[in-house]
Amino acid sequence: MKKILALLKDYKKETILGPLFKLLEASFELFVPLVIAAIIDTGVSDGDIAYILKMCLVLVVLALIGFVCAITAQYFAAKAAVGVAAKLRHALFEHIEKLSYTELDTVGTSTLITRMTSDVNQVQNGVNLVLRLFLRSPFIVFGAMVMAFTVDVKAALVFVVTIPLLSIVVFVVMYATIPLYKKVQAALDRVLAITRENLTGVRVIRAFNKEEHEIKQFNESNDKLTNMQVFVGKITALTSPLTFIIINVATIVLVWTGAIQVNDGVISQGEVVALVNYMSQILVELVKLANLIVSITKSIASGNRIQAVLNIESSMKDVAIDTDVEIGAQKESASSVKQTNITGLPEDDVIVAFEHVHFTYAKSKEEALTDIHFTAKKGEMIGVIGGTGSGKTSIVNLISRFYDATRGSVSINGVDVKDYPLESLREKISIVPQKAVLFKGTIRENICWGKEGATDEEIQRALEIAQATEFVKEKGLDFVVEQGGRNLSGGQRQRLTIARALVKNPDILILDDSASALDYATDAKLRKAISEMSDDMTVFVVSQRAASIMHADQIIVLDDGEVSAIGKHNDLLDNCEIYREIYESQFRGSVL
């Protein structure tokens, strides 16, 4: 909750003024019973009509001031609540963008989405209500008590006993329900997850005729949610009857005490009326408070869930653009290396180096990569091949520093990737991921992800190399891609993701099995175009197809996370059994 409360600081004015005006309004309300007592004791008993009219005018004025105060308070409260919610969503979004792949792998997307939407809404309601009512209610309660003391000390003692009792009830209910609301939200998460799953997997579900089964599963989770909600509801439902009893018993005692005091001539009849009025004011406030508590407990539970996301720390430490001297010096060396690159270093300049790299995914016991050691030179094409789960993708993910190596080091231009600011590191590298993801927007906008403000010529060139000119020409650069690229075929999507990576002319290009949806002919043309594109670009090609990598300058053959062999096609055919097996399995196909 701390960080959420910290956000309220930006709305200092609103958070102070909102409740303040609310309190002003409440104070004027507290005078009402006194005015009534005056009407009864002075006006009615003396038959003073002018006095009564004057007092009623006072009532109207009090109401008017209260009205103005209330509207002002509402405005400030709404502004602060909505503002905090917007800031929270911003903070969450920004924070999620800072999480590394390791955290994203473990947290799960749908819970992040509920937290950004439904939980933030709950907090917004909570803040709004707190600012509007939470201070007002205790203020009226205590104010009524203080006013009671001005009337009669002995009778006021009834208030002294009643109020702590009420507080206990309120807090016990709150204490009992907060953890339960957390469970409710978790159940809601589950319902959300099933819904999402059914949207993404609709084809498979229908192909297997699993609709009924899915409905059953959904209903189970949905019922669980409902039962939870009803259970929590039962507990919170106790609050208002309990407060009702306490207040009314207090009223009874108050009337009795009043009767004794009047009999002894300590107070007047009108003053007893005022005391009873104060008690009923407390009741009105408490009923509001009881309803409020439900909302507030919900928002506290939601607030904690949001806090939990904000508390996830990225396991990856980024180098700030200006850090201490030591890293600054290293950075300098990095840029100086780059500069000498431009001025022309010998051809065998090493650009990527893996030094005895070991890597284990979070929550996994086994190493995904074991002792990977190789260097890639500028302008080389490196093929990475190996069985499913042999660690091909893990290797390229380490180059872009999506994950940190557990042991050993990965360096680019002689500088450890950990010593680059992430942004400038990824600036050098373009990646075409396995899954062809496009975003809602025009084709142009999607390509410009690779390079902000790319010119049409640059885009056309990238499209040409990616073999996408033909269909893009048909649709136009301003063709709007729907969310997830649903209105494009798999192959079209993939070619656009390739163009997106090429448009910035990267130092290092990584194709992570990114031609899987392309037919052989297109794949071949693509590779040819890429190799002709630039002499300085280092290209990593991860593939299942031997044909895709056989012309590479170096082929890394992986087997179960370890390097089985590194070499050129012909050497590997002679020396590496795994490579030979892969190659033959594919080319035997065409001979058969």
Binding site: V44, T236, N263, R545, I582, Q586
Partner: protein, 582 residues
């Protein structure tokens, strides 16, 4: 028009509530009890006050009797209130459950056309956030609406019993409060709708960006996406502020009107007391009533704004539920028994959007047990053909027949049961590995599952997972590689072995060594089964009985490998380009 829609929404909600009329009856009855009892209390208090006049003039026995009565009332009211709250809770959450349940069931019946065309985030937001907000509104409505209305009438009744004149004054002033409340409610409805829509837009954006966060980071687009997010966020902030502020004016406004009522009662009451028309106790009771009488107006106006929001949300949910569902199976639809796999496409025409023609006059005859390979450049319509075969979409013209029966005349279920499908895009549901495998055959034994997994060569990696077949697959299969996911999808089909197969690049993410082994299993599986194979592997294509060469949505060449090579057309070109590589 707008109002009509709102009334419609309310009627729809009432239909759901009707199912719980028992609870509803109890709730209404108890709220009546609560209201009457709690209204009787001020009257009793007033009576007691009249017995406390001044020094030495206090009737203690009288006061004690009244207080005793009050005690009983209090306990009774509190108990009734509790049961009522519990009932209300039950009704609300059950109604919500029913709405969600039906909305989800609807989701399973919606045509793919709808689902393909709508952002998932938006659909999710309707089913989750909107329903949630609807629940909040409904609960508030229940707890406060009835008791509010009953309190108003009850109070008027009790007031009338004390003094007719004051009551009339109150009744005259009442409409003022209602006018204010309804004026504001009307104004805010459109604001709430805008808020709801903007929220949907944002959810959809979050879904897209958070869901593909890895790509966002790979391209260092964090700042840009954050900027775009902020733009939507700012808009949401502005329209939320408007909606919330303007709706929250209702409460102070009605309260102000109520204060006027209170003052009026005080004036008239005081005059009446002077003239001896009523006692001091009566005046005190009247003032208490005036206070209580105004309270439900505040509450109802609060409820009204909340209900506005709830109605706007409910409408979005109902909109989803009223979407045109898939055309249901005809009443006389045939159940397709085990087919031998004869498939005929006659003059099939299809397009996703009317103005963009895609497939026209497509003819194809598939004999039982034939292997059909579909080749062609990307985007040539391979996936569309599969969409039509599985009847995810209906043909626009012509017909597709299985065993000489138009597939539109058979149940979808039986048609799809006869197909085994492995798609390039793998999908796993959250659950155990085993759950995922047995999708097509829920009653499969462990032996059958393992045998299928061995056939698809998935057994060896499953075995190595921490919990073996009971390992939980994370959301979106996050803890498995793309290839492993594909192996599981293949295992699924291996287990149930339907008479016809559709393999859409089924092995694209699997390494070739494993692929070769799977191909063997596939070959065994395909024996005697009609199979449609979208593939890139030459061996698979060459072994096919018929090769369909597709381009721009249509079949341009059709025949066996040798026939097509002789034709020296598109296929031959494709084939040669591939060999040129080697």
């Amino acid at each position: 028009m707008k109002k009509e829609k709102q009334t419609q929404t309310i009627f729809k909600i009432l239909k759901y509530i009707k199912r719980y009329w028992g609870f509803l009856g109890i709730s209404i009855l108890l709220s009546a009890v609560t209201v009457v009892c709690s209204l009787y209390l001020p009257l009793l208090t007033g009576d007691a006050l009249d017995l406390i006049i001044e020094k030495g003039q206090v009737d203690f026995t009288g006061v004690f009797d009244i207080l005793k009565k009050m005690g009983v009332m209090v306990v009774l009211t509190a108990f009734a209130q509790w049961i009522m709250n519990v009932c209300n809770n039950k009704i609300t959450y059950n109604v919500i459950r029913d709405v969600r349940k039906e909305a989800f069931a609807k989701l399973e019946r919606l045509p793919l056309k709808y689902l393909d065309a709508h952002a998932h985030g938006e659909v999710v937001s309707r089913l989750i956030t909107d329903v949630d907000q609807f629940a909040d509104g409904l609960l508030m409505g229940f707890t406060q609406f009835f008791s509010g209305i009953l309190t108003i009438f009850g109070t008027l009744f009790f007031m009338f019993a004390i003094s007719g004149r004051i009551t009339i004054a109150v009744v005259v002033l009442t409409p003022l409060s209602l006018v204010v409340a309804s004026f504001i409610a009307k104004k805010t409805f459109s604001m709430f709708k805008l808020q709801s829509e903007t929220r949907g837009e944002q959810t959809s954006f979050i879904e897209e960006m958070v869901g593909n966060q890895k790509v966002v980071q790979a391209f260092s687009r964090e700042d840009e996406t954050l900027k775009k997010f902020d733009e939507i966020n700012d808009r949401l902030e502005k329209c939320s502020l408007k909606a919330i502020f303007f709706s929250s004016i209702t409460n102070p406004s009605t309260r102000f009107v109520n204060s006027l009522v209170y003052a009026t009662v005080a004036v008239i009451g005081a005059f009446l007391a002077i003239s001896g028309g009523i006692s001091i106790g009566n005046l005190s009771a009247l003032l208490a009533y005036a206070n209580q009488y105004t309270k439900p107006f505040n509450e109802i106006s609060g409820v009204v704004t909340e209900l506005q929001n709830a109605l706007a949300c409910a409408r979005r949910v109902f909109e989803l539920m009223e979407e045109e569902p898939e055309i249901p199976d005809a009443i006389d639809a045939v159940v397709l028994e085990q087919t031998d796999g004869q498939v005929d496409l006659e003059n099939v025409a299809f397009s996703y959007v009317p103005e963009q023609r895609l497939m026209e006059g497509l003819n194809l005859k598939v004999k039982p047990g034939q292997r059909i390979a579909i080749v062609g450049p990307t985007g040539c319509g391979k996936t569309t053909l599969i969409n039509l075969l599985m009847r995810f979409y209906d043909v626009k013209e012509g017909s597709i027949k299985v065993n000489d029966i138009d597939i539109r005349n058979m149940t979808r279920k039986s048609l799809r049961n006869n197909y085994g499908m492995v798609l390039q895009e793998t999908w796993l549901r959250s659950g155990t590995i085993r759950d995922n495998i047995v999708m097509g055959k829920p009653d499969a034994t462990d032996e059958e599952v393992i045998a299928a997994a061995k056939a698809s060569h998935a057994h060896s990696f499953i075995k190595r997972l921490p919990e073996g077949y009971d390992t939980i697959v994370a959301e979106d299969g996050g803890n498995l590689s793309q290839g492993q996911k594909q192996l599981l999808c293949i295992t699924r089909v291996m287990l149930c072995l339907p008479p016809m197969l559709i393999l859409d690049e089924a092995t694209s993410s699997i390494d070739t060594r494993t692929e070769v082994k799977i191909q063997e299993a596939f070959a065994r599986m395909m024996k005697g089964r009609t199979s449609f194979i979208v593939a890139h592997r030459l061996s698979t294509i060459r072994e096919a009985d018929v090769i369909l060469v597709m381009k721009d949505g249509n079949i341009i060449e059709q025949g066996s490998h040798n026939e097509l090579l002789l034709q020296n057309g598109f296929y031959a070109k494709l084939y040669n380009s591939q060999f040129a590589l080697v």
